[in-house]
Symmetry: C2
Subunit: 328 residues, 2 copies
């Protein structure tokens, strides 16, 4: 596809109309931190909030991408339009290796009702949280009914990313012992829906029982449904979608969806601002020999780390770097 320049107005109209080349260009701008991305999303923001945002998380190798692929196939058959944003560096989406017809996801690449995109985590000011949020907003504005956000993680560093979702799906498989332990220890947050993929594995039943026993520890109204799936064969994919939709409908019916979105958006703004503060810090120290000298003094054990932090904060942010722990 020949690269062409898009005037902002045309790009905005293209995204709004769901044109895939416009979407591709727009998300690239976002991903590269291009100055044009900013007015583009600003322009379209008032038209967002209509898509159902489903976060799909879980350790690598459990089949998240295949399951998303199977859900896409199911939803297309129902006539729904779909966006997929993958921020999992280990995802087959990211690797361009789409498992061919095994998950039949390649088919969707020519389907105008589906747009699939993996985000690189290459650094720009607001980091991956920022580009993911912007990409999701663009897909939302393009009129997609459902947007999946696929992330890796044991439920920790991906907080900011699943913080976009209306509904969080955790995918596990037989052998996901570490995630089970993390759930049990309360280190990983209980998601809204759990899928145990590769249901034909001999240890699937054991895993189901373990997950059940953990889920029972949660408050009765916070206990997520658990679905045994097989993404490759498409088994129980319809049931999984039913549970995901039920969760959202329940949220919507009692006003919790609005509340969750308020919290999510505030969280996103904070995450992006912190990420930018960090980038700013990084650039300032790298560009300022005086600040670089502070780090040298720390390394020579002449200046303690907190004194260095204090001086850096004062210099970079004009913020009083002293402890004010009582205030926060």
């Amino acid at each position: 596809m020949a690269r062409r320049e898009w005037p902002l107005e045309e790009l905005t109209a293209g995204v709004r109309a769901g044109d895939r080349r416009a979407l591709a260009r727009a998300i690239s701008l976002v991903e590269n931190g291009d100055p044009l991305a900013y007015p583009l999303v600003r322009e379209l923001y008032s038209e967002t909030g209509r898509a159902a945002i489903v976060g799909v998380t879980g350790p690598p190798g459990v089949g998240k991408s295949s399951l998303v692929g199977a859900l896409v196939a199911h939803l297309r058959a129902l006539g729904r339009t779909i966006g997929v944003v993958s921020v999992d560096p280990s995802s087959p989406f990211s690797k361009g290796a789409l498992l061919g017809d095994r998950i039949r996801l390649a088919d969707h690449f020519n389907d105008p009702g589906v747009y699939i995109r993996s985000m690189s985590s290459r650094g720009h000011l607001g980091g991956v949280a920022e580009s993911t949020l912007q990409a999701v907003l663009l897909l939302d504005a393009s009129g997609k009914d459902i947007v999946f956000v696929e992330t890796v993680g044991a439920g920790q560093s991906d907080v900011e990313v699943t913080g976009i979702a209306d509904t969080v799906l955790l995918v596990l498989m037989p052998g996901s012992g570490d995630s089970i332990q993390a759930l049990k220890a309360g280190i990983m947050e209980i998601p809204d829906v759990i899928a145990i993929n590769k249901m034909d594995h001999p240890a699937a039943k054991t895993m189901l029982n373990e997950v059940r026993s953990i889920v029972r520890l949660a408050e009765p109204d916070r206990r997520p449904p658990i679905v045994l799936t097989d993404a490759v064969r498409g088994e129980n994919v319809a049931e999984l979608w039913e549970k995901l939709e039920e969760h959202r409908v329940a949220l919507e019916s009692d006003g919790r969806l609005e509340e969750r979105r308020r919290r999510n958006l505030a969280g996103e703004v904070f995450a992006i601002a912190s990420s930018r503060a960090r980038s700013h810090l990084d650039a300032a120290v790298r560009g300022d020999p005086e600040l670089a000298r502070l780090l040298d003094a720390v390394e020579r054990r002449e200046l303690d780390p907190l004194s260095a932090v204090r001086e850096i904060m004062e210099k970079v942010f004009e913020v009083d770097g002293r402890e004010k722990a009582r205030e926060v």
Copy 2:
């Protein structure tokens, strides 16, 4: 133990002398973000850098604490003094439940050559990264030969904490399928030494082979040794310590230790400064009705998130919040 007030000078001298009540008080100050903690660590900082810092990471439930307990017993028998800082909320150290004589760690609580402390992650300005670093520096200044830092995590959000360590030990057990996948996918960093604990488990051999096949993908000089252990029975604990020590000796002999410590300290300073920037942001938005109104506008889809970020950055940090992606 009756609470008593320590004048700064006496506290400094107490920590320096390795007095456990002084250490306990000093680490509490650090943990609470008390203003006194700051001059205390500043005073002692020039006396740090002598202890060997060993980061112990791995998913919950694999027996990290038991293994640290077994290493402590082994090292005490060799006459070495030891500090342990646990930042794993699921650790038995944190729960005060020390598994009694099962790991015989309770014994060490009366041993003046050992100081064990779990850090709460309750928030103060610089977060857990800051209090952990400060606690490690205090233990180092108190003359401990070895300081263990125990953290949970699939190798992601604990980056800042293992960033203190000279040597990183990853503990796995049979069933740690998710960690294996994360290592394989390159999402979890290859550590310096790997222990597979609960070696008598029937699946231990399979796990060992899986870990071996992953480790072989690393550069020959970056392949960590793998030790099968049983913490409860103390099996192969001496061998594990040997590997940990060998790693450090190798680092020291070719100047990489110094380089690693330089990188670690710079990383810590950044982590703490970013954490403070985030706390500052949080406090500013909560305390400023104008900034809170920005978030409301985002939630009503009237103002897009990045415009809000820009205004917040300008107001809070007096930093130009516009994209300057090319620079960083």
